[in-house]
C-alpha cells in the first residue's frame, strides 16, 4: 500500500495502482472525436444555407445584370420577348400567405386553447389536438388533389354567391373561375394550421398554472384569465408560431400550384386566379433550359429566399422583443 502511494506521486507515473489511475486512456479519443464530428455536421448544416444562396445568386446573376432592381416591380413575364418581372408572383405569394395567416392564427389559437385548457374532457381534447396535428402529415400534393377535385367544386357556389351579392366590393369583383387566390389562401390556412396550433398549445401549456390560479383567485372568469393572463404570457411564442406558419405558407409549392389557376395577374379580386413564386417556379422550370428565362426563375428563387429570410429574422426579433418586455 505504501509502495503504491509513493510510486503514484512520482512523475512520470509508472506502476500506478489501476484502481487509482487517472491518466487519459483510449476512450478519451472517442470523446474528443465526437466533439469534432458534431461540430463538423453543425458547420455543414449552417454552411449549406450559404452555399445554396451563393449558387442561386450566381445562376441568377445575368438576370440581375439585365433587369436590375426594377425586376421586382416589373409586371412583364414573356418568354418569347425575354422580358421578365416578379411583381405578379410576389403579389400572389404575399396575398395568399396573408389570407392564410389571417385565418389560421385565430383558428390555431382556438385549437390551442381548447386542447390546453380543461373546459372539455380529456377524451375530447387529446384526439382533437392529435387530428389537427395529423394535417401536417398529409403530403401537400394530396391536399392539392383534394383541393382540385373536392374543395373547388364545393366552394364554387360560395364564390359565386360572394360575387353576386358583394360584387360591387373590389375583393369580390370578378367572375370566379374556380381556382383562385381565395381558394389557395384557404388551402394554405389548412396547411399551416397544425404548425400554429401545436406550437401555441405547447407555449400555453408552459405558462405556469399558478398564474391561472392567481387570476381566478382575484375573481376573474376563465375567459378573462385567458385573455388577460394566459395569452399575453404566451404572446411571444404564439407570434413565433404564427410566423413559422407564414414561412411555410410563403414557400408552399405543390398544393398552391394546383389550386391557384397559375395566371400572371395582379388583381384586387380574391376570386381571380393568380400565381405565386413557388408555383411559377414549379410550372416553368421543366420547359426552361437556359438563357434569361432560367436566370429569371433563379432570380425569383433569390427573392423568395430573401422574403422567407426576412420573415424568419422578424420572427426571432419579435419573439425577443416581446419576451424582453415581460422581463425588463
Amino acid at each position: 500500500m505504501n509502495a503504491d502511494l509513493s510510486s503514484s506521486s512520482s512523475i512520470p507515473s509508472t506502476g500506478v495502482n489501476p484502481e487509482q489511475d487517472i491518466s487519459r486512456k483510449g476512450n478519451f479519443l472517442m470523446d474528443e472525436g465526437f466533439v469534432y464530428i458534431t461540430l463538423g455536421f453543425a458547420v455543414i448544416a449552417a454552411g449549406l444555407i450559404f452555399w445554396m444562396a451563393a449558387i442561386i445568386t450566381e445562376k441568377a446573376w445575368p438576370a440581375i445584370q439585365t433587369f436590375g432592381i426594377p425586376f421586382i416591380w416589373s409586371t412583364d413575364w414573356s418568354v418569347p420577348a425575354e422580358k421578365f418581372g416578379a411583381l405578379p408572383y410576389i403579389f400572389g405569394t404575399l396575398v395568399t400567405s396573408g389570407i392564410a395567416l389571417l385565418l389560421a392564427v385565430p383558428i390555431g389559437i382556438s385549437v390551442a386553447l381548447i386542447t390546453s385548457e380543461n373546459f372539455l374532457p380529456q377524451w375530447v381534447r387529446t384526439p382533437l389536438g392529435f387530428i389537427v396535428e395529423l394535417i401536417a402529415a398529409i403530403p401537400s400534393v394530396i391536399i392539392g388533389l383534394w383541393g382540385i377535385f373536392v374543395f373547388i367544386p364545393v366552394f364554387l357556389p360560395v364564390q359565386q354567391f360572394l360575387h353576386q351579392t358583394l360584387g360591387w366590393f373590389p375583393l369580390f369583383s370578378s367572375e370566379p373561375p374556380g381556382p383562385g387566390i381565395l381558394v389557395a389562401g384557404l388551402i394554405l390556412t389548412v396547411m399551416i394550421l397544425p404548425t400554429i396550433s401545436s406550437i401555441s398549445r405547447d407555449v400555453l401549456r408552459s405558462v405556469p398554472v399558478t398564474l391561472r390560479s392567481a387570476s381566478m383567485a382575484l375573481g376573474a372568469t376563465r375567459w378573462e384569465t385567458i385573455f388577460r393572463v394566459m395569452l399575453p404570457a404566451a404572446a411571444s411564442g404564439i407570434v413565433g408560431a404564427s410566423i413559422l406558419g407564414l414561412g411555410r405558407a410563403l414557400g408552399e409549392t405543390m398544393a398552391v400550384a394546383m389550386v391557384i389557376g397559375n395566371t400572371k395577374r395582379i388583381t384586387p379580386s380574391l376570386l381571380d386566379s393568380a400565381s405565386t413564386i413557388p408555383a411559377v417556379l414549379a410550372n416553368e422550370f421543366a420547359e426552361s433550359h437556359e438563357g434569361l428565362h432560367l436566370q429569371s426563375l433563379m432570380l425569383l428563387g433569390v427573392i423568395l429566399f430573401i422574403l422567407t429570410l426576412v420573415v424568419n429574422i422578424a420572427a426571432v426579433w419579435i419573439i425577443q422583443a416581446l419576451s424582453l418586455k415581460g422581463r425588463e
Binding site: A214, S215, A217, L218, A220, R228, E328
Partner: protein
C-alpha cells in the same frame, strides 16, 4: 372535542365568525383527504393552520375560496359559510366569492406584466375604472403591503424583476387591492429568506385590521408570532387529514389538551 369548542366560543362571545366550517370532508376523486373539520374563523383575527406535511391544511384552505376545484376532480361534503352564506350553494357566483376571499400562494406568482398592472388586475377585471381611482387604489395597496417606497419610481417596470420577497408582497398588494373580506395565505413565506419572512409577518400584523386572515404555515414560531387562533391538523391511521385541536394560539402552544398537539408543537414529530 365538545369541551374545546364550547371553550373557544365562550372566549369569543364578542367575536363574529367570517368563515364557519361545519363537518367538512374533502375527496380527491374517490380518495378521502380530509374529514370532519368544524371550525369558526373570526373576523379580523389571524387563524393559523399548522400540522405535518400531507395533513390536509392546504387542501382545507383551498376549499375556502373554491380554488381547489380548478386543480381537478374534487368532491366536498359539509358546510362552509362565508358570513352566513353557503359558498357551495348552487347560486354562488364564484367570481364574486373569490373576490371577497382573496388568496396568496406558496410561491410568489406575479403576472408577467408591470408592477402597476399586477395590482390593478383585480380591479380591471371587474369593469372600467377611472385612472385616478386606479392610481389611488394601486398606491394604497402598495403602501399597505409596505412595498410602495421600494417600487414607486418603477411602477411601469416588470414585476418579474423584483426579488422573491418583494414579489410576494406584491402578490399581497394585488390580493388586497380588490378589498377582500378574507385573505387566505398558503405558506406565503416558504420560498422566502428570513428577512423577507419578517416583513411579511409584520404585514400580517398590520393587515388584520382590514381583513380576516387564514394562514397555512409549516413554521410553528411563525404561527405563534402572527396568529390569534391556531388549528392543528394531523392525519389518522388511514392517512385522512383531520382537525385535532383548535383554540387560541397561546393555548395551543402552552396548554394544548390533546397529546398529539403537544408533541407536535414541542417538535417531537412532523
Amino acid at each position: 372535542m365538545d369541551s374545546q369548542s364550547t371553550q373557544t366560543v365562550a372566549d369569543n362571545a364578542n367575536l363574529s365568525p367570517a368563515l364557519r366550517v361545519h363537518n367538512l370532508a374533502f375527496y380527491y376523486g374517490t380518495k378521502k383527504a380530509l374529514e370532519g373539520v368544524t371550525v369558526d374563523m373570526y373576523q379580523n383575527q389571524v387563524t393559523a393552520l399548522i400540522g405535518p406535511s400531507g395533513c390536509g391544511k392546504s387542501t382545507f384552505i383551498k376549499a375556502l375560496n373554491r380554488i381547489g376545484e380548478l386543480e381537478g376532480d374534487i368532491t366536498i361534503e359539509g358546510l362552509v359559510e362565508f358570513y352566513g352564506q353557503n359558498i357551495y350553494a348552487s347560486n354562488v357566483n364564484l367570481n364574486q366569492l373569490r373576490r371577497q376571499i382573496g388568496m396568496v400562494f406558496q410561491k410568489p406568482n406575479p403576472f408577467p406584466m408591470s408592477i402597476y398592472d399586477n395590482v390593478a388586475y383585480g380591479l380591471r377585471v371587474f369593469g372600467r375604472i377611472s385612472k385616478t381611482v386606479l392610481d389611488e387604489t394601486v398606491e394604497v395597496a402598495l403602501r399597505g403591503s409596505a412595498l410602495w417606497d421600494e417600487v414607486k419610481d418603477n411602477l411601469r417596470k416588470s414585476a418579474l424583476g423584483l426579488s422573491g420577497g418583494q414579489q410576494q408582497r406584491l402578490c399581497i398588494a394585488r390580493a388586497m387591492a380588490v378589498r377582500p373580506k378574507v385573505l387566505l395565505m398558503d405558506e406565503p413565506c416558504s420560498a422566502l429568506d428570513p428577512i423577507s419572512t419578517m416583513k411579511i409577518e409584520d404585514l400580517i400584523h398590520s393587515l388584520r385590521n382590514e381583513v380576516t386572515i387564514v394562514i397555512v404555515t409549516h413554521n410553528m414560531q411563525q404561527a405563534s408570532r402572527v396568529s390569534d387562533y391556531t388549528a392543528f391538523f394531523n392525519t389518522d391511521e388511514s392517512r385522512i387529514g383531520q382537525l385535532v385541536e383548535y383554540n387560541l394560539t397561546p393555548q395551543i402552544f402552552g396548554a394544548a389538551t390533546d397529546s398529539r398537539t403537544r408533541d407536535y408543537v414541542e417538535g417531537r414529530f412532523g
